[in-house]
């Protein structure tokens, strides 16, 4: 057992930490102070990263190898390990700025879309609605059947989190055989419409990918059961890692504020109510950190890791929510101000808990496996 970061892992982590400090956290002030003057009073201010800043960040992230973490060597990437990806996403989680490395399932680089995805000329969205509920796809309601002239998709409507993307990856079951297939579909393909755009409380736009009488060439079928499981596990690790970053930032700021803020003649840091909130949070952060790293390490060792990734995501996301909640409480009025990052983390972490497996569903699945065993 050697839980020290390797030289390479440390270098990767430090590079990401530096990028996040200098490029993201440094821009937070401007970003957070954006007002939404035309909204009615009380409506949440909608903030966006301005286009120029986004382009600059894309460029700089590319320069230091942080734009897409999944790129294979032949397309200019570095075959990054799962542990390294966790270390990086964890750093990005520390900033509330809506910028992070793009996440592209690795097997897609071996398909017809590989090069376009690698150089960023097309963007990808995952349409794994069912997985958001249960963390797996056993109750998937999207079906297809294969015919000589292509795959016919049964009419369906799938929740998607990034409706502006060019390409959508979604799972479907073959009628009869129940075999799971992963399809990529372009937004301009016949039978595809995207509608019902809604804004979530954490400023994301979500929509529905609607398939009506949709027939696509068989080569759009890009993966099967294992690839689908790996996509889910990899997204769970991303969420877990991002949650760790949220936890770190909230804990650090809360310690700092508690040291400086004085009430009734003593700093908050000397109040047991404050001390215990942070002590409890630190335990959750520490355990979730190592569960996440262990799951990622298992992925790198090609050991089974889907269950571990699901647990890491469940605990880490819950911890992130607790962290944001604690930070808000300790910062008091400042905690809920939009000029501070904590309310943003609070909204984000609440959503992370609902993605790629709701807590009660993940618990239920784990419990059922144990009872059956």
């Amino acid at each position: 057992m050697d839980l020290k970061l390797t030289e390479e892992e440390r270098l990767i982590k430090d590079t990401a930490a530096q990028f996040v400090d200098r490029e993201l956290i440094a821009r937070e002030g401007v970003y957070l102070k954006q007002q939404a003057p035309f909204l009615p009073p009380g409506a949440p201010a909608k903030r966006e990263l301005d286009a120029q800043a986004a382009a600059e960040l894309n460029e700089r992230a590319r320069q230091v190898g942080l734009w897409s973490l999944d790129l294979p060597e032949n397309l200019g990437g570095s075959n990054m390990s799962a542990v390294a990806r966790v270390l990086i996403q964890r750093e990005f989680g520390r900033s509330v700025l809506p910028f992070r490395p793009v996440s592209i399932p690795r097997f897609l680089f071996e398909t017809q879309y590989g090069e376009a995805l690698a150089d960023g000329t097309i963007s990808l969205a995952l349409a794994f609605a069912e997985a958001h509920k249960t963390g797996e796809l056993s109750r998937l309601q999207t079906f297809y059947r294969e015919e000589p002239e292509g795959c016919i998709l049964r009419d369906s409507s799938i929740f998607i989190a990034n409706p502006r993307a060019d390409l959508f990856l979604f799972p479907a079951r073959e009628q009869g055989t129940q075999r799971l297939g992963l399809f990529a579909i372009q937004r301009d393909m016949p039978g595809v419409t995207i509608g019902d755009e809604v804004e979530l409380t954490n400023d994301w736009i979500v929509a529905r990918l609607m398939l009506r009488q949709c027939k696509i060439p068989s080569e759009q079928l890009l993966g099967y059961e294992y690839e689908a499981g790996a996509v889910i596990a990899s997204e769970q690790l991303n969420i877990a890692a991002r949650s760790l970053g949220i936890g770190m930032r909230c804990l650090e700021s809360s310690i700092e504020h508690a040291r400086n803020r004085v009430t009734f003649g003593r700093p908050l840091a000397q109040r047991q109510a404050i001390q215990w909130m942070l002590a409890d949070l630190s335990i959750e952060l520490r355990t979730s950190t190592w569960l996440t790293l262990e799951a990622a390490w298992r992925a790198d060792q090609e050991l089974s890791y889907f269950e571990e990734a699901a647990l890491a995501k469940k605990r880490a996301a819950k911890m992130a929510f607790q962290a944001a909640d604690t930070a808000i409480q300790i910062h008091g009025g400042y905690g809920v101000c939009k000029e501070f990052p904590f309310e943003g983390f609070y909204r984000e972490a609440r959503l992370l808990r609902l993605l790629y497996g709701q807590e009660h569903e993940l618990d239920r699945a784990r419990g059922e496996r144990f009872i059956e065993a």
Binding site: M1, M248, E252, R259, Q275, W290, R366
Partner: protein, 396 residues
């Protein structure tokens, strides 16, 4: 980053797993109805001298297991090499206990030597350390007092120098097994000192004039810790363990060392409790309880990871105050919650005195107190947090 055990550690783990499978698991039916003391380490108490043939029979089984374990080289695992032990790492010791905890048979590999006895010097080595390593002597640990528990720096027992001797006066509460121990590791303070200053550790033989075990005290957990009284108990200065006035560091070292074992024990116990629950609900209420069971299983896995992390950091000689406190707090609170849930599922029959859940229920409540209550653990964690900031959680 590497989570695999080393090949030596993995081999040891396999040997222990085989021992558990071949020697302990087959005894499970027999131990289901064993006298209540055969839960945890209570069979090492004065029950050992019982005349009850039933208890004698079980003690015979335990002794037979000890011999088998010794033959397999599973003895003196955590004893340093210079004393003929295997000196395995903290991590390996956790792996060993993890395997042992897969069964409820209350067996552990010996001989566990109170770690501070390695500070023995000169004649103390032959008089105390070696006999403990050989299993000929056992010790008790006298730190808490009627008016000082969670905060041991308030201890009032005095050790007054008098020529070549110290004269000890005071009362100690709750040393477990003091009534069967051959000597006690006693903490007392030099006159006129307060707090952590002047605390000194003495090795005091049972039977020394002025030292008596006043009584043993029945507890919820079934253990019977003792009350020790020292009245003008005169001990020679050669009985000081370590240096005069250096006792504080020793008591901290003793406490710190045990935390990670507490973690892996609770891990195993909690899993066994959930196994009982799973068997109860499998055919009638799996739907209703699967979620809660799954939740606790996840928490138990988290405890395991945290425990290995702490043990590994301890092996690297890193500061593990936070990890040790986190493991103690997390483990004991979790075991308590799991057991409480199990009883809720099981109903009143789970409280039958000899029911495995009832046993765990009584045991689990006490673990949130002994060796530092949960509140003290939170205090230690926050102190490290405010001392070091978020760096207290930095990756190694």
């Amino acid at each position: 980053m590497e989570f695999y055990l080393s090949s030596d550690e993995e081999n040891l783990r396999k040997i222990v797993a085989e021992f558990v499978r071949d020697e302990l698991v087959p005894l499970e039916p027999e131990f289901t109805n064993a006298p209540d003391i055969f839960e945890g380490s209570r069979w090492k108490s004065r029950v050992k001298s019982s005349d009850d043939p039933e208890i004698k029979r079980y003690l015979g089984i335990m002794e037979g297991l000890e011999k088998k374990a010794e033959v397999k080289g599973l003895w003196r695992l955590d004893v340093p090499k210079r004393y003929g032990g295997a000196e395995i790492s903290n991590v390996a010791m956790i792996a060993v206990t993890e395997e042992l905890e897969k069964t409820a048979i209350p067996f552990e590999f010996g001989n566990h030597v109170s770690n501070i006895l390695y500070s023995c010097k000169g004649a103390q080595i032959d008089q105390y350390l070696w006999p403990c390593i050989r299993g000929e002597k056992t010790s008790a640990f006298g730190l808490s007092e009627p008016a000082s528990g969670a905060d041991p720096s308030m201890l009032q027992t005095t050790a007054t120098p008098d020529g070549e001797d110290f004269v000890i006066n005071g009362t100690k509460m709750f040393p477990t097994f003091a009534d069967v121990a051959d000597f006690v590791q006693l903490f007392a303070r030099l006159p006129g000192t307060v707090g952590r200053e002047g605390v000194t550790c003495f090795l005091i033989d049972t039977g020394t004039p002025g030292y008596r075990v006043a009584r043993s005290i029945a507890t919820l957990a079934g253990t019977e810790p003792c009350e020790l009284v020292f009245e003008n108990c005169r001990v020679h200065k050669s009985q000081v363990l370590g240096e005069v006035g250096d006792g504080w560091a020793l008591n901290q070292a003793w406490l710190g060392n045990r935390r990670f074992q507490v973690g892996i024990r609770a891990h195993g116990q909690a899993r066994r409790v959930l196994r009982v629950v799973a068997d109860l609900v499998r055919h009638k209420a799996a739907d209703r309880f699967a979620g809660r069971i799954g939740h606790f299983l996840g928490e138990i896995e988290a405890l395991r990871t945290l425990t290995y992390l702490g043990a590994w950091k301890a092996d690297q000689k890193m500061n593990v105050r936070s990890e040790a406190a986190s493991v103690k707090l997390f483990a004991t609170e979790l075991l308590h919650q799991v057991t409480d849930f199990a009883l809720e599922v099981c109903g009143p029959s789970g409280l039958h005195k000899n029911h495995v859940l009832a046993r765990t229920f009584r045991h689990a409540r006490a673990t949130r107190i002994v060796e530092g209550p949960s509140e003290i653990q939170r205090h230690i964690i926050q102190r490290e947090l405010f001392r070091e900031g978020a760096a207290a959680l930095a990756l190694p």
